[in-house]
């Protein structure tokens, strides 16, 4: 990662935002929610860009991650931070169950994952003994106070999720630059040719799916401990799929920071502006953004900005 990009991001994330908004719980809460979307958006973009697969069911991994962590901390006595990790692992395991879908392409993969999301949601309603059924889980433990820092509050939550998102983006960047990334990029151009020269394309896609699910699961687990409440309709809500896709498309899913920027812009605008103007149906704007970006700027916002600075020409592709 280019330090000229990374250092300003780190400064903004760990100094400027906390200093500016530490006393404003409302704004801080919105930023935490936006970063939650950003985390899923990065995971979605990783799968979409590197794996070449559009998923309409990331809510599946989000929900599984949040339930795994909530149940383990509540019923098995796991520490909350360990629960975060377990949420990721739980979602990664769930992604193994979705792997048969990897041999599908395009719409078939997208909707197969959606089907999994529905199935997981219904399972979470039916497995009442573990998940509390349709009533959900109440008073999921908060993040503890560590070394005098209260991670249970808004500011503490902010530090956790911003770290998760930055780590996810760095992981995305590292994979993209590795030989795997090169192979995945080649697969994007011609999967057949890539296979012929000996790249195990299905295995690589499987790894991307697991990584993507892991990140989404961690984010889901974070959200469960941050809002301390879960129910199936909420944990597996289509919102966890639609918002991240809109964010990733808007920001540019073939870039590392595009999904993060997209999530911040879209979520904050959605909550502060569109929701005020259109109390019902403000998701309309998300749909319009998705369609509009695909039609007029398929690369997304970030490549568009870069291109403008360089005065056109260079195409920012993965």
């Amino acid at each position: 990662m280019n330090p000229r990009i990374l250092i300003p991001i780190l400064v903004a994330a760990y100094l400027m935002v906390p200093l500016a908004f530490q006393s404003n719980d409302y704004i801080l809460g919105l930023i935490v929610a936006a970063l939650t979307i950003a985390g899923i958006a990065v995971a979605w973009a990783l799968l979409g860009n590197l794996g070449g697969m559009v998923s309409f069911g990331h809510a599946a991994f989000f929900g599984v991650g949040s339930y795994t962590s909530a149940v383990l901390t509540m019923k098995a006595g796991f520490p909350v931070f360990a629960g975060l990790l377990m949420g990721g692992i739980g979602a990664a395991i769930a992604s193994v169950a979705t792997m048969p879908a990897l041999r599908l392409k395009g719409p078939y993969f997208a909707l197969a994952i959606l089907a999994y999301a529905h199935i997981f949601q219904i399972l979470s309603v039916q497995m009442e003994g573990i998940t509390g059924g349709a009533g959900g889980l109440l008073s999921i433990p908060r993040f503890p106070t560590v070394l005098g820092v209260d991670f249970g509050g808004k500011l503490g939550g902010y530090f956790i999720i911003v770290t998760v998102v930055i780590l996810a983006a760095l992981a995305y960047d590292a994979i993209r630059r590795s030989t795997w990334g090169l192979a995945l990029k080649a697969m994007h151009d011609s999967e057949l040719a890539t296979r012929v020269i000996g790249v195990p394309s299905t295995q690589l896609k499987a790894v991307m799916l697991v990584v993507s699910a892991f990140i989404t699961g961690v984010v889901g687990a974070f959200n469960a401990h941050f809002i301390n409440f879960l129910e199936p309709d909420y944990a597996f809500s289509g919102t966890w799929t639609v918002l991240p896709i809109a964010a990733a498309i808007f920001g540019g899913y073939r870039t590392v920071w595009g999904p993060v920027l997209g999530a911040l812009v879209i979520y904050l605008f959605d909550q502060l502006l569109f929701k005020e103007i259109l109390p019902h149906g403000h998701q309309l704007v998300l749909g319009a953004l998705m369609a509009g970006m695909v039609l007029w700027s398929p690369g997304g916002l970030v490549p568009g900005l870069i291109r403008r600075r360089k005065g056109g020409g260079a195409h920012a592709h993965a």
Binding site: P100, P107, Q283, M290
Partner: protein
């Protein structure tokens, strides 16, 4: 128990009639453009809401609303086509995202115009029951639109196999370049497939409005269901789609009758996954593998 089973079979069969019209529309568009129109169900729902608006305001019979709904849906369908045709790079991913976005726009427009309430026809004629052989019950609407659906399917089948335009649609789906060489104008044929899909959607929308209840989020559910049916049937054949639609209808009505209504969607989803993994080219798909 036997009567229940028979009734469930019967209800499922009737539902299959209009499910098939939705699925064939989706499959036609996929055939010519290689694009799954994820806003397809929303177009169906739009027809239903047009019928609702006309009935609520002017007391029109839903069947008489068909021409108006047809215009609205076909224009919307043509707009979807015009936007899809603009996509140049990464068509597969971008067309999915575009139609997904358009579906969200339509759902929310419906939500803003007609609110989130659940609606259904107030016309008693459609809701009256029909009893067949003293044991099988159905709503009049279900029977009417089942028969109508069959007639429409037969018409589309004839159109595809006999008319020049219908053959052009099939030619384009089987080999785009060869079809062009034979003088098929791909643009015209694509538009035509969208318009026929629009007409089928209109019919299905009115059927849903008179026989079921409608609400804004239904569009997405319809899209997924249509997609499942086409996967089941394989994209190729109209009789296949009809059988797939009836299968989904029957499986759903069995789930509702013998398990729980909340599991209705699950049954379809599980079947979808099973078919995808066991027979990815569909039950009647022949050579055209879906996973390619």
């Amino acid at each position: 128990m036997f009567e229940l089973t028979l009734q469930a079979l019967f209800s499922g069969l009737l539902a299959g009639g209009y499910y098939a019209t939705v699925a064939v529309g989706l499959a036609l568009v996929f055939g010519t453009m290689r694009v799954i129109n994820l806003a397809h169900g929303e177009l169906v729902l739009l027809a239903a809401y047009v019928a609702y608006a006309a009935e609520a305001r002017y007391g029109l019979n839903p069947v008489l609303c068909i021409p108006m709904a047809l215009v609205v849906v076909c224009v919307s369908s043509a707009i979807v086509y015009a936007l899809l045709a603009r996509i140049e790079e990464d068509r597969e991913i971008n067309s999915l995202i575009l139609t997904f976005g358009l579906g969200i726009i339509l759902t929310n427009l419906i939500l803003m115009t007609w609110a989130a309430d659940i609606h259904s026809t107030t016309n008693a004629w459609f809701l009256d029951s029909v009893v067949i052989a003293d044991t099988l019950f159905a709503m009049r609407s279900e029977v009417v639109f089942f028969v109508g659906g069959l007639v429409l399917m037969a018409a589309v089948h004839l159109w595809l196999s006999r008319s020049w335009q219908g053959r052009a649609v099939r030619a384009l789906s089987s080999n785009r370049n060869a079809a062009k060489l034979m003088g098929v104008d791909p643009r015209k044929t694509e538009i035509l497939s969208f318009l026929v899909a629009g007409a089928l959607s209109t019919f299905a929308g009115i059927a849903i409005y008179t026989g079921k209840t409608i609400f804004p989020a239904l569009g997405h559910i319809i899209t997924v269901k249509a997609f499942i049916i086409t996967v089941l049937a394989g994209m190729g054949s109209i009789p296949g789609v009809l059988i797939g639609a009836v299968m989904i209808g029957v499986i759903e009505s069995f789930t509702v009758t013998f398990a729980a209504a909340s599991l209705q969607e699950l049954a379809g989803m599980v079947l979808f996954l099973v078919v995808l993994f066991v027979a990815p080219s569909g039950l009647f798909g022949g050579k055209k593998a879906l996973s390619r």
